[in-house]
Symmetry: C2
Subunit: 579 residues, 2 copies
Amino acid sequence: MTRLWNEPENFADEMIDGFARANGRWVRKVAGGVTRSTRSEEPTVSLVIGGGSGHYPAFGGLVGHGLAHGAAMGNLFASPSAQQVESVARASDQGKGILLSYGQYAGDVLHFTEAQDKLRAEGIDCRTVTVTDDIFSAPASEKERRRGIAGDLTVFKVAGAAAAAGYDIDGVERAAILANDRTRSMGVAFTGCTLPGAEEPLFSVPEGRMAIGLGIHGEPGIDEVDIPTADGLAELFVERLLVDAEIPEGVSVSGSRVVPILNGLGSVKNEELYIVFARVAELLEQAGVEIVDPQVGEFCTSFDMAGVSLTLLWLDDELETLWSAPADTPAFRTGSVDTASLVQRGDIDDSVAEEVIPEASEDSRRAAAAVVKALEAVEKVINENADELGRIDSIAGDGDHGIGMKRGSHAGAEAARVTFSKDAGAQSVLTSAADAWSNKGGGTSGAIWGVILRTIGERLGNTAPVNPTGVAEGLDAAKQAVMDFGKAKVGDKTMVDSLVPFAETLVERVNAGDGLVDAWAAASSASQKAADGTADMMPGMGRARSHGEKALGVADPGALSLSMIAAAVLEVLREASDH
Amino acid sequence: MTRLWNEPENFADEMIDGFARANGRWVRKVAGGVTRSTRSEEPTVSLVIGGGSGHYPAFGGLVGHGLAHGAAMGNLFASPSAQQVESVARASDQGKGILLSYGQYAGDVLHFTEAQDKLRAEGIDCRTVTVTDDIFSAPASEKERRRGIAGDLTVFKVAGAAAAAGYDIDGVERAAILANDRTRSMGVAFTGCTLPGAEEPLFSVPEGRMAIGLGIHGEPGIDEVDIPTADGLAELFVERLLVDAEIPEGVSVSGSRVVPILNGLGSVKNEELYIVFARVAELLEQAGVEIVDPQVGEFCTSFDMAGVSLTLLWLDDELETLWSAPADTPAFRTGSVDTASLVQRGDIDDSVAEEVIPEASEDSRRAAAAVVKALEAVEKVINENADELGRIDSIAGDGDHGIGMKRGSHAGAEAARVTFSKDAGAQSVLTSAADAWSNKGGGTSGAIWGVILRTIGERLGNTAPVNPTGVAEGLDAAKQAVMDFGKAKVGDKTMVDSLVPFAETLVERVNAGDGLVDAWAAASSASQKAADGTADMMPGMGRARSHGEKALGVADPGALSLSMIAAAVLEVLREASDH
């Protein structure tokens, strides 16, 4: 939802103020919107775009060299008035004619047309090309009735480049019409946006559902389905946009060249868009389409609406030249200074040397089998407790402990299995698990568990007999390595607080003659007790207040997961000794 | 929340795939992250950045000419592993030394340091500068303990520019340290983000509240307050960042030059950021700070977290040169091709001619007074019903009808009062209200109400006596003008459906000899009936389905508001006739 404003009535005006202040290099404020703050060497046709506010970077963010000359910026989701359009057009006029271009909506058509009539009455050669790219707003046979969404960008970019290239008004109009004819978009939405000062969202989509074809102001879509996977959404997009009726006249899909624009409507973020894009690119390539200069990001938004659209611009030679021409605006910059040359793939060697597995004794193979079982038990216990560990971590830390441990323990167990299957001994299995855990788990916990497993492996080796003393010494060495690595000591309320009593108790009991199971049980309960103890005096700095939750009394998640792991491994040891 | 993925475990990997696919012009994928796909003419120091994923454009989006050479991209909110860092550093190395730079978090420090140790062991001159800009993560006296947030960008940009300028490793390291010493940030948050596959948000902030100092992974902040206005937030930011302890050594605030970076964390959108920025700029200027190349947008996010941060980079001559140097990356491009020259303010005349109020007869002045009263009644009734009108419009249309009518009727009444106070007659008052309504209301409804008021005014004039026949003729002419303007006819389920019976009944009854009040009452009830009739057969195309609400049976909001307005004006007429 929208949260930051002063008075809802002044939202658009104040937004334009701030926008112009922040982007004085490209734009200056005039009555009704913005116009360029720069001037071309030679006068050209002027491209004036516009529409309601709330769609940034549409429309002001697209004013600058190689793109629009001015943008009429209306109120929130409301067309600019005829006076606003007229004012911006006058401020942008260079005496070579004006092209008005905007997404096709009733209010915009009324106001822009009124402004056009006034300008024409004074002898200014003013033309209009509306953008009609939304395939779900009317049937393909009636493209002229469709609404404009993120396809705005392709029409504006092509028209702006044509103007910069010195096309006359007939030529700029023709190029814009061509771009619009060859642009198709479709959008989906998961939630609506709330306008500043409004009590309720403009519209809503049921939780877990996705509206297909829903417009950028919440105009009704054509269907509603469960939210698909990222791949599933990519498949839906490409399937719908590659139906015969949506292929522009004279274009054959295979062998064509297309600019795909994957647009986030507001709160679907770049990370998610990139996952969808990977599959979109694959599918287009499978269909024989060559991808040119893809765009992934926010080009036409609807405040913080959770939605995505895919636009395809089907190029011909002229459109490709115009699309690729330099542009420099607050929100769209391309063809900028870069004298560097592309590295050819293969210039750099990415291959990893094939690993060699050292030979192992039979005794070490048996220990390696136990290590695999133990790591599988660890994976299981972490998997069961990952959400809780994450929740605890989110109170005092960054909340990634659960998910990091889950990824790490999964990768560790998997690597151990694979390495074990290659006749490896205990050290090889532990080392491969250590590398995988550290690499896939990431974060502090990944690094530390990498150190622990690697150090134990070094002590056990691949040929020596494995006995309780060796295991206890391995844990003791691991304890020391962790303390050296993380520079933490007992009392810092980290996992060291539970690792130290664990290792010390284990050594003590083994030295006193206990078997491994009994010693491990004692060590495990010492670590459990110590982990609970980390809850007593969490450092403060207002931690609780900003989360509305009590931070004192919460144990360190690293210490907790260590004690969980110790207990899980104890079960494996018990089972092994029972057989 | 995050909605689009395939398997949560593969989120980061697939994201990097898509990112590299979409941005092949700048980057190529290597084990552990990305490196540039371009090569400089001369080898330089290599800048390798990195961190967890979920902060786009940090970190991969900042790889390219003039900025980073490679980015190690960890899992979601988790440090990349030492292997990942090492792999990316090797792929980015040009034999002139490597600077590792990243936000200071425990996990990142562990892994990057381990990678640095390995690279150094092979004789590679590898250095590290961590970013520590978050003023709320530790006291000013312990800046070295602070976390890194959006200030990452200033350190990376300065170091990358220094490398591109041919600085040696000592020089690049020195410039990065200088940039970090002179960078301060603070952030606030309104909601947390939900990691892909997680059941719950990583943290939450109570509705209507704002956490101050909360970190980009939800690390605890220092305070929690009610959400302020946009201006209030700007004041908080500037006040906290301009305290003595946060002014870098040797800098005097007045006369200083600063790059402000107003960063959205995910779902606070550009429109809101620009409103905040307008006030930030004012406050900095009041403090005597000169603003250089301001940045407003997303530079370091936390998925779709609703939050904002402000970063200040306090320039000296060297930092200004390095900050302003060209850069060309997927997400940050500056200094690009633009041969156009800045227009000086004042080159274009923005002034509006002073309006001349025509003289008015006493009779027309009385009518003008009634018009003002009627417009005030209209403003009132619309104000009371704006939310409901918006709700109705959101079912079938774009939901802006309520807010547009509210703005328009408010502006119309205000303009009418002002013009009336200048001794204006009925036509002048109606014309000024028409212009204001159309201009401020925007959208289709603004245009149509402009036409209605203007047309009635033309019929009434400023000097002729005002009688029921004139009013009825005015309404009839307005009806015709609206139909011509919007190309709508009765039965299209627009406001024309209620305007036509209104005007026809009014004419009929006045011609039959009724007084204005009785005729208006009959017309008003005819329009009410017709407005209700627009609910019977809304056009379909699946409208209801995608909103989970029943669309059939919903009246046209324009027809509804016309009938409300007719009823409100009737009250004014009745009151006037009672006196």
